[in-house]
Symmetry: C2
Subunit: 160 residues, 2 copies
């Protein structure tokens, strides 16, 4: 493996490891447990499941991998706080959407070659990227991995 | 920047970003707030502060950067669960140890050159590393970054 391949493997291995952890967490929780707040007065599990699904669905756009599968989630789970949501989708629906997004995103991620990860992501201009070549697709995976770990730590608190 | 420099920058930028987030979280919490459980029946903030300090203190060893500053933390905060701790250090002491570890670790991290990050870490044999060259020091930063984000998500729940 060359440096580029190694760097990509390190980041993607961690990404898939964190995805696996999060899936274990949500699969260990019942729909009723998901309705609970992760801590008193904080987000409910079901909100975090919707939030993660919406955030990862947005990665198709940022990584230039295609269109969102469930664009309707953006307003509810990114632009609205849990307490302000008037109509919460049910847990089964969100579990299905999480799976849809994750399966499709995994397929796209696995279709990229190492060099593709060092190309610019979709929300930076060519001009800025010329000056800041670290703002590439691999960097998107880094920030999204941190976001996933952060909320997995919270979701895990719902386990008995 | 070449590929190696870019890869290292991506990972270290995220590391320092997560460190910054965690420091903002603990600095926003009073010593009394740290005594609270992050969720009912779960770890206290003060335990997580000790746990993160001990985990990062152990990185000197894993990254072959020198000796632990506070080896006494290992037994309390890595090998013992919060509920089983009989003598909890006070919050001020742990804040000081966190700072000591973080300042020293940051200095060591900043002293490494990009190529150093692609060398093997201290807990893998030369033989295994020859077959698995992704098990390098940069990979250690990846797993530790995920760990940090996970617990920051929990610590943040103590904020009012």
């Amino acid at each position: 493996m060359d440096t580029q391949q190694i760097a990509v493997k390190i980041v993607l291995d961690r990404w898939f490891g964190l995805i696996n952890n999060f899936e274990k967490t949500i699969n260990s929780l019942t729909d009723d447990q998901l309705q609970k707040e992760v801590a008193p007065g904080k987000n409910r599990g079901i909100y975090l499941l919707g939030h993660m699904t919406a955030a990862h669905d947005d990665m198709f756009r940022v990584l230039a991998l295609g269109d969102k599968l469930h664009p309707e989630l953006l307003e509810t789970f990114i632009m609205t706080a849990d307490k302000a949501i008037t109509e919460m989708p049910d847990a089964q629906e969100l579990r299905t959407k999480w799976n849809n997004v994750n399966i499709a995103l995994t397929e796209k991620i696995n279709s990229l070659q190492p060099a593709d990860w060092f190309a610019k992501h979709a929300t930076i201009s060519e001009e800025d990227f010329a000056n800041e070549p670290h703002r590439n697709k691999l960097n998107v995976m880094m920030t999204r991995a941190g976001h996933l770990a952060y909320h997995d730590g919270q979701m895990a608190l719902l386990k008995a």
